[in-house]
């Protein structure tokens, strides 16, 4: 019995040692000045430049400390933030993406800061509008990005194929893909099957805008898409697939295009893919070939393209330091010096004062050139379908069912339509 007591005593001592270490750290953290917790996802370069911006801000504001809480990918980020929010322990700044409407209930409306602590006058009106959900300003755009087709310029030059024009109609585009097919070696396809990609609601969203039937209207909580529209989208790619303009479904499914490592374009399997402009530098860094951007087909006539914030800075409604936090966000998006540090990592700055300070790498220049040309072919962004993540995931599944021939495009169109209705009602 004596020895049992000893073991238990030992357990208690070691436990209290570990506990003690923990509480000491906690006390040290709590004793300081105002602390802003900034949760975002990103890696390497983004962390480094964000830290530089933090240091600059802290040196200017001695009473404030900013603690970054970094996760690698958006998936990790949201699992962590969700859990923290459920535990009543959310960070002050939460980086958001297209799913911002789903978080509306936990975010602080920023309208009362607009024009004072947050200088909205220099921010593009379209960027302010996209952060406004249900009539309230909930998110500040981190920078602007645009969907684009990206092609492997070096590959086309190697095989002696003509380079694509920046703007084409769908007919011209199909003819161009046919030309490419004749030039490319076997096993290399003109274009990636962009419906199998994880962010597949973007090409589909583009298609619905091109047809004048946008996916969602938040004001009326309705969709203009019909089963027929969705069917036509599926048939468009079925035609490409049949003619070998995109890879067969099992090859295409091997490349999720969520990242350079899973990209058919980087792997040299296709000549054309799609991305958001802020991804270009990451893709370019993963290959020795030169990449370049063109518009989606038909944008010039329909203005179906759009500019979107690549991310938002939002504030947790339970934040204890909302004033200090919004000041810091204002610094991140508007301050010229911060802009020089942050560059276009979170999108091309949406603030005129930040752009004026601009620093441009060759890739940034390519993006700016593209935006110059494609900018006039844009119209305001469509509202995000509620339950964004589920929409992407299920659309992906339905698209694949059609691609693998499990269901017809007509059935697929009907199911996509029903999915939209269900998610809007959810």
């Amino acid at each position: 019995m004596k020895k049992i007591t000893m073991v238990l005593l030992f357990a208690a001592i070691s436990a209290s040692l570990v506990f003690g270490a923990g509480t000491k750290e906690q006390a040290a953290a709590a004793g300081g000045p105002v602390t802003i917790r900034w949760a975002y996802w990103g890696s390497g370069e983004r962390v480094t430049i964000s830290q530089k911006a933090i240091e600059l801000y802290e040196s200017r504001n001695p009473g404030v400390k900013v603690n970054p809480e970094v996760s690698g990918g958006a998936g990790d980020h949201f699992v962590k933030v969700d859990t923290q929010l459920a535990g009543g322990d959310g960070p002050d700044i939460i980086q958001m993406g297209g799913n911002i409407p789903d978080y509306a209930s936990v975010l602080l409306p920023l309208d009362k800061y607009a024009g004072n602590l947050l200088n909205t006058s220099v921010i593009d009106p379209s960027a302010v509008a996209s952060g406004t959900i249900g009539g309230k300003l909930l998110g500040v755009s981190t920078g602007v990005t645009m969907p684009a087709l990206v092609y492997n310029k070096s590959l086309l030059e190697r095989v002696g194929a003509p380079l694509p024009k920046t703007a084409m109609t769908y007919d011209e585009f199909r003819a161009y893909l046919m030309t490419l097919k004749g030039k490319l070696p076997s096993g290399v396809y003109p274009m990636q099957d962009i419906g199998v990609m994880s962010s597949n609601s973007t090409p589909f969203g583009y298609w619905t805008r091109y047809n004048g039937t946008p996916l969602y209207n938040a004001a009326t909580a309705s969709t203009a898409v019909t089963a027929k529209d969705a069917q036509k989208y599926l048939e468009l790619f079925a035609d490409y697939r049949k003619n070998g303009l995109i890879p067969p479904p099992d090859v295409a499914a091997g490349y999720a295009e969520s990242n350079a490592d899973s990209s058919a374009l980087i792997a040299g399997k296709v000549a054309i893919g799609y991305l958001y402009t802020n991804q270009l530098s990451g893709y370019q860094a993963a290959t020795t070939d030169e990449l370049a951007l063109i518009e989606f087909p038909g944008a010039a006539a329909t203005k179906a393209l759009w500019q979107a914030p690549s991310q938002f800075y939002t504030i947790n409604k339970d934040s204890k330091n909302a004033d200090e936090t919004i000041k810091f966000i204002n610094f991140l998006v508007n301050d010229p010096e911060a802009a020089r540090i942050l560059g276009s990592n979170r999108g091309t700055p949406a603030s005129a004062s930040a752009r004026a300070a601009g620093s441009s790498s060759p890739v940034d220049q390519k993006i700016l050139d593209y935006m110059q040309v494609a900018g006039p072919h844009t119209s305001p962004e469509t509202d995000h379908v509620p339950n964004d993540t589920e929409f992407n995931s299920t659309l992906f599944l339905l698209y694949q069912r059609v691609a693998f021939g499990q269901i017809t495009p007509a059935q697929g169109g009907q199911q996509i339509y029903e999915l939209l209705l269900r998610l809007i009602a959810k």
Binding site: V7, S14, G22, S43, N259
Partner: protein, 281 residues
């Protein structure tokens, strides 16, 4: 003749083990090769041996995420894993001894309860666990990861040790009991020495699995200077396409080294004979 035959069969056996091993290790060899390729060639150069050889990935990777380097991540992982491994070995074997050898009321019930704790997918207990540890004030400390191990919450190891202890001949501890040995005496002087291979297994697995346990570390460690190796590795992968694969591979290779070393130095305890000395003595 006899000696010649054994030499031949021995060589054959070695050759077989090496051939099978090489087949299984191909992906690892590719990983090591890739860690020495320049970032923009990793996905275009298919071979194991790099066409262009660089140590840049290691230099860059070691810096981690710019503000905190991998030296910190390794240090944190070591603290968490060593404490966890030690705690698991001690407290799971105590519990296992009770379940395997002692008589008490409700034994079957508690054993069933213990097994059930293994069966609930952990993702659904994430939120209540988080709320609980938050109320304890443990967020952003190592406590939510280490402390449960001091309370034998890892039923896998209890069950493992139970099976090993039940496999031991019962007459030895009964005779010790007759000799006037206390229960605790039997545990320390007979059971523990006889279950060394199982204890080593427990130490090893606890270390490795805690090393790998990304999900809990992600949830409970919030400031970068508390981050661990798997968190550091995930930070190289960014969903917006800015991934640094080269450094990620390089640090993945490095992260195998502690576990490999630990395994290599502990495997010598898997030597036939340890278990039987003392029984038939």
């Amino acid at each position: 003749m006899q000696a010649k035959k054994t030499l031949a069969s021995r060589l054959l056996l070695n050759a077989f083990i090496i051939a099978l091993g090489l087949g299984m290790l191909y992906p690892i060899l590719w990983l090591i090769g890739a860690s020495f390729k320049p970032s923009n060639m990793i996905f275009t150069d298919a071979g194991i041996w790099p066409k262009v050889f660089t140590a840049q990935n290691y230099r860059e990777g070691w810096k981690g995420i710019g503000i905190v380097g991998f030296d910190t991540f390794f240090k944190n992982s070591f603290i968490i894993c060593l404490l966890s491994a030690f705690a698991n070995a001690v407290f799971c074997s105590l519990t296992a001894y009770a379940f395997a050898r002692l008589k008490f009321v409700g034994k079957k019930f508690w054993f069933a309860v213990m097994m059930v704790t293994l069966m609930l997918p952990s993702h659904v207990t994430t939120i209540p666990r988080y709320i609980m540890f938050r109320n304890f004030g443990w967020i952003n400390t190592f406590l939510p990861i280490i402390i449960p191990k001091f309370f034998a919450t890892d039923a896998f190891f209890i069950f493992l040790l139970v099976q090993f202890i039940r496999g031991l001949p019962r007459d030895i501890d009964e005779s010790a009991l007759i000799d006037g040995c206390s229960k605790f005496g039997i545990y320390t002087r007979i059971i523990l020495p006889l279950t060394v291979p199982a204890l080593i297994t427990t130490l090893l697995f606890s270390f490795l699995w805690t090393w790998d346990d990304f999900f809990n570390q992600l949830l409970y460690l919030t400031s970068p200077n508390r981050y661990t190796v798997p968190m550091g590795l995930r930070l190289f992968l960014d969903s917006s396409g800015m991934s640094s694969w080269g450094p990620m591979f390089a640090m993945s290779v490095l992260s195998l080294i502690p576990a490999f070393t630990l395994f290599f130095s502990l495997q010598k305890y898997f030597v036939r004979g340890i278990a039987t000395t003392g029984i038939k003595g």
